[in-house]
């Protein structure tokens, strides 16, 4: 387990198609001022992009997704004690369907 993640961008993904994928898992005590994952793609299907387990998350944007179509996907799962001043997920898409959260 990482102790602290600060001012970090862990992963950027630029792809046409993402299917049956888990791109990034993060376990940390504290995440501050970080953007963990950015995804730029056409299609996302049957994917869980990011899982985060942390005690405290502050001043962070965990995941941004820019895509055309998202189907049968769960983009982010988060287990945390305290979340403050944080935007967890931004999604820009044409069509989103069949999400199970």
């Amino acid at each position: 387990m990482h102790d602290k993640i600060t001012h970090s961008l862990l992963l950027t993904v630029d792809a046409r198609k993402i299917t049956h994928a888990l791109l990034l898992t993060v376990e940390a005590r504290t995440i501050t001022h970080s953007l963990l994952l950015t995804v730029d793609t056409r299609t996302i299907t049957h994917a869980l992009l990011l899982t985060v387990e942390a005690r405290t998350i502050t001043h962070s944007l965990l995941l941004t997704v820019d895509t055309r179509t998202i189907t049968h996907a769960r983009l982010l799962t988060l287990d945390a004690r305290t979340i403050t001043h944080t935007l967890l997920l931004t999604v820009e898409a044409r069509k989103t369907s069949h999400f199970d959260a």
Partner: protein, 130 residues
């Protein structure tokens, strides 16, 4: 799209979605003890159909704005489902749409609700809603 399991959520915006069409989707589920000074979900979309946008299970929700929806057409959807002990100083749901049909906008189960505005709707046409 997003599931959050947390003790405390403060001064946070969990999810923003900008999409043309949202169908058969559950965008955000939150399980938390305390939610304060937060804006959980904002959505800008043309069409929302057969979707449950936000479900929340919490002890206390204070000074928060849970869901804002800006859409052209909303059909066959349940926008917000809230199960909480106490809700204070909060605005649960604001909807700005042209047409809303065959939808249930808000379900709230709570012990205490004080100083709160549960629902505001601005629409041209509303049919078959409860």
């Amino acid at each position: 799209m997003l599931t959050v399991d947390a003790r405390k959520i403060t001064h946070s915006l969990l999810l923003t979605v900008d999409a043309r069409a949202i169908t058969h989707s559950l965008l955000l589920t939150v399980d938390a003890r305390t939610i304060t000074h937060s804006r959980l979900l904002t959505i800008e979309a043309r069409t929302i159909t057969h979707s449950l946008l936000l479900t929340i299970e919490a002890r206390t929700i204070t000074h928060s704005r849970l869901l804002t929806v800006d859409a052209r057409k909303i059909t066959h959807s349940l926008l917000l489902n809230v199960d909480a002990r106490t809700i204070t100083h909060s605005l649960l749901l604001t909807v700005d749409a042209r047409k809303i049909a065959h939808s249930l906008l808000l379900i709230v189960e709570a012990r205490t609700i004080t100083h709160s505005l549960l629902l505001t709707v601005n629409a041209h046409k509303i049919t078959h809603c409860c």
